[in-house]
Point group: C2
Chain length 532, copies 2
């Protein structure tokens, strides 16, 4: 790890400059420009946008350059008109804040501000900036006035994700972002909300705010507004997940729906059939996204009690599930035993649903089963902690434990709400000495105080035990002999994510290790959790 | 309805004969034979079986001729040897009781004792009895001694399916059936348990019982025993669901597993790849079946609270789910809003799982979420009752209500645990006057005191309201104009199973009807539950 970067991240006060700086995850430092600087840099963008429009093209503004917005901006920039030229001039906009500004500079340098293994995302961003020159980013609000289409990808999160003490959604920053749109948008611009929002947001929040701001400007014509949700998947198919997945949308009126459809059709691939699904109203579209992710979360939660059962009665739940998943169409999405749920969506979307139902729609409906599932998922890592406690020979206090895997998806450097967070917190609270490793993560943004050991050998060398927390290929390829060679003495291993084969588990146990695994009841039945 | 049949079904005391009779669902009356009669009828079967064996063929006995056993027997009888001749002589056995004996006579007449729309089942049964003459049924226990393979399809149910007061499984009749096998089986016969059983049954119940009975006979060689579960689906693909679905199995030892596989391979279709999935032990196979059906039941339950939500906030949950189901592999098994769960499996298998875990495996594991789902499913029909109460203009007392649909699957005459039971019970308890109709059900075995009106016109003529409880084609094709023509006056309709189109709903409302539907929030939003 580079100590300079870490120091910089801890606070900007230690740096000599007076201007605030924005530090990217890769450690690069970007002074945040003043409003005047941003405006003068923006002039060139405005000229290009107007030139594009004069030639009959349209201008798209993407508001919010996070995991979705940055990728969507590059994808839209790649859309082609009939003549093969870029269909749009695309402007990405974000806030001139330490947390966000670096994304603007990355994009303007032709770099995707997302650490993705998808080569297409890097290529599209590079080409749109350096080849076709139709993608630029800015912090200057004047950009809103240039856009024919404004795509809202503003961050909207839940505070207190799995707390039982009520759900709190801080809607004000989102509302303020929409207010900015209303103050500056062209009267005939189409607003497409792509952010995952609580049900009721488009019709009960966005529409009134836009109307109010436009009325202040004397604009009385109806707002063109639609909700259209993305299904971005982190990983090697990032851009494809934007372009080739079905897309649900709905406008607040027929005209908005039609214009949203026409816009989406320019970058959603329809070569294998129409992927655009219109629903009756934005509320249905908003709710669809939340139901979709709630279903996935509930299916993950369902298997947890069967996991505990399998461990207790000594059966291999993985092979049983494999035999059930052959029933395509009804059972092939059954989840395997696991270690919890990470990421941005599945950990919060059910909460957004309940919050919107209560606070925006003022309904007394309660999604009890759905919220129970989220609680179950949040508690899953604690089962791995129980397994560690069981096999740690001298308790957790002072135990040297290698935690292998920090991201929430195998072989993807995305650590948002990773279940490893809960595991690490619990092990540290019990006094364990951790060596946290991940082959694809250099710094752990969500736990900046927990160093990531870059070298697996160093992480394992003096370990009393190992927790395999992510199914990264590097771990799956390890095998028993590597593990025994890399550790100084027989240790214990908790396989929380089906990383070890049965053969490796048996070899480790034969070499004196204690071996347990989530859902691996047969290992327990065969006595691998006990010394030979 | 034929009053003679009904009287006969109510009790055999009214009939002149002294011998007990067994009455088939079609009303035919079959005197139960004495033991001597059965034995003399069996002699011919024994001769044929021995003849088949002398020619190098094998004899299969299917124990229990219910919904699974009768179909499995006909399917096995259709299996061919290399020379194209029948591979097996198949004997179906059941008890000489009023409840079961009629099945023996039906099969011996070449008729499937299952009211199925699958023409293949009827053909296979007919041909095996009348053409190839390798399928016969009997009540004579001597048959056990003829069999090379004994397939156990004995009924095993849960008493008190959805009660909170604990789960009770009466295992004794099943254990007694296994004891009979042990007393009479050939020492080298393979026993394949196909009945859905609580986890632990094969190894903790069947195996010790068989060993004990065989030891009494001086047989010390290991029992050949396997569990292999079927995935029979009532409906037009009955036989195909036995032959062409993947089949999970496991023996108590390697030899049993191998022999079970060899046997299954003779009638499970492997032309499109190997469908036989071997698991580590029978416990895994038993648990797999229960997990499979529990998953389905949980997925059905999941959507219920979203159904109530959709109705409260006024959205059409059906169109939302349609838009989500396009995500194949993860979301295409999402269930639609509905009226509850019927049938033999999904209503009980989670209870069997919990009972076996507690009583056969003596584990303290609790399948809380899974059992919650069953409770939710059992309560679903009560939501339809609430909707009826809401729109019945003068309350339920004395209200003439046409209940359309009794079976639990559209266009299939299977009424086992149909959700209509709970609806009818509740409506009757509130004093409603019901006209219960189903196009494919003549008598309702589970509610023999509730007459089935055969004529839809008669059911609707004087109705104050209609509950559409099953999506039978006859109802889906009805349309608004038929409904208004068939009823004397504007009425109400509760669409519990997505039977009516939006257009029909609007037409009915325009004609003065009150219209509500499960999951049809948009109908409520549009005011169809109120008089115009």
């Amino acid at each position: 790890m580079n100590p300079t970067n870490t120091d910089a991240r801890r606070g900007t006060g230690e740096l000599p400059e007076k201007r605030p700086v924005s530090i990217a995850p890769d450690g690069t430092v970007h002074p945040v420009p003043s409003g005047d600087d941003a405006r003068s840099a923006f002039e060139e963008i405005a000229l290009k946008a107007e030139e594009h429009r004069r030639r009959g093209g349209q201008v798209v503004l993407v508001q919010g350059l996070g995991f979705v917005g940055a990728a969507v901006a590059a994808t839209i920039a790649d859309a082609k008109a009939v003549d093969g030229a870029p269909a749009y001039f695309v402007i990405g906009i974000d806030l001139p804040t330490p947390g966000s500004y670096w994304k603007v500079e990355k994009i303007n340098a032709g770099l995707a501000p997302i650490d993705s293994t998808d080569p297409v995302l890097a290529r599209l961003t590079h080409d749109a900036v350096h080849e076709t020159a139709n993608l630029r980013a800015t912090t200057c609000r004047d950009a809103y006035g240039l856009a024919d289409v404004i795509v809202v990808d503003v961050h909207l999160d839940v505070a207190g994700r799995t707390s039982d003490n009520g759900i709190h959604v801080e809607l004000e920053p989102f509302r303020e972002a929409i207010r900015t749109v209303g103050r500056l948008m062209r009267p005939d611009a189409l607003v497409v909300v792509e952010t995952t929002v609580p049900p009721g947001t488009c019709e009960n929040v966005v529409l009134p705010v836009l109307r109010e701001e436009r009325l202040r400007r004397g604009i009385e014509e109806p707002v063109l507004l639609a909700h259209a949700y993305e299904r971005v998947m982190p990983g090697p198919n990032y851009v494809s997940s934007i372009r080739s997945y079905p897309r649900t949308y709905s406008g607040v009126d027929e005209r908005s729906s039609n214009q949203a459809r026409a816009f989406l059709a320019t970058f959603v691939d329809s070569s294998n059939g129409d992927l655009l699904w219109r629903l009756e109203n934005p509320l249905s579209s908003e709710l669809g996204k939340l139901l979709e992710n709630s279903y996935r979360a509930a299916n993950i939660a369902f298997i947890h009690e069967w996991t505990l059962l399998a461990e207790k009665i000594g059966v291999n739940l993985f092979e049983i599930i494999d035999s059930i998943r052959v029933r395509t169409g009804t059972h092939d999405n059954m989840r395997y035993p696991g270690f919890g749920v990470g990421g941005y969506c599945l950990t919060k979307d059910s909460l957004l649903a309940q919050w919107g139902v209560t606070h925006l729609l003022e309904s007394d409906a309660v999604l009890e089963t759905t919220l129970d599932a989220l609680r179950t998922n949040a508690l899953m890592p604690m089962h791995a902690v129980e397994l560690v406690k069981e096999v740690a020979p001298n308790g957790l206090g002072g135990a040297r434990i290698a935690v292998c895997g920090v991201s929430y998806v195998p072989d993807v450097a995305d650590t948002r709400n990773s279940p490893t967070e809960a595991l690490v917190d619990a092990l540290l609270a019990e006094g364990a000495e951790l060596r946290v490793h991940d082959p694809s993560v250099r710094t752990w943004l969500e736990r900046a105080d927990v160093p990531i050991v870059q070298d697996l050998e160093a992480a394992l060398a003096d370990a009393d035990g190992v927790v395999l927390a992510v199914g990264h290929r590097a771990y799956r390829e390890l095998g028993a002999s590597s593990l025994t060679q890399l550790t100084a003495q027989p240790a214990f291993v908790v396989d929380a994510q089906n990383v070890l084969s049965d053969e490796s588990a048996r070899e480790l146990h034969a070499a004196g290790w204690l071996v347990v695994g989530v859902g691996k009841g047969h290992w327990r039945r065969d006595g691998m959790h006990r010394r030979k």
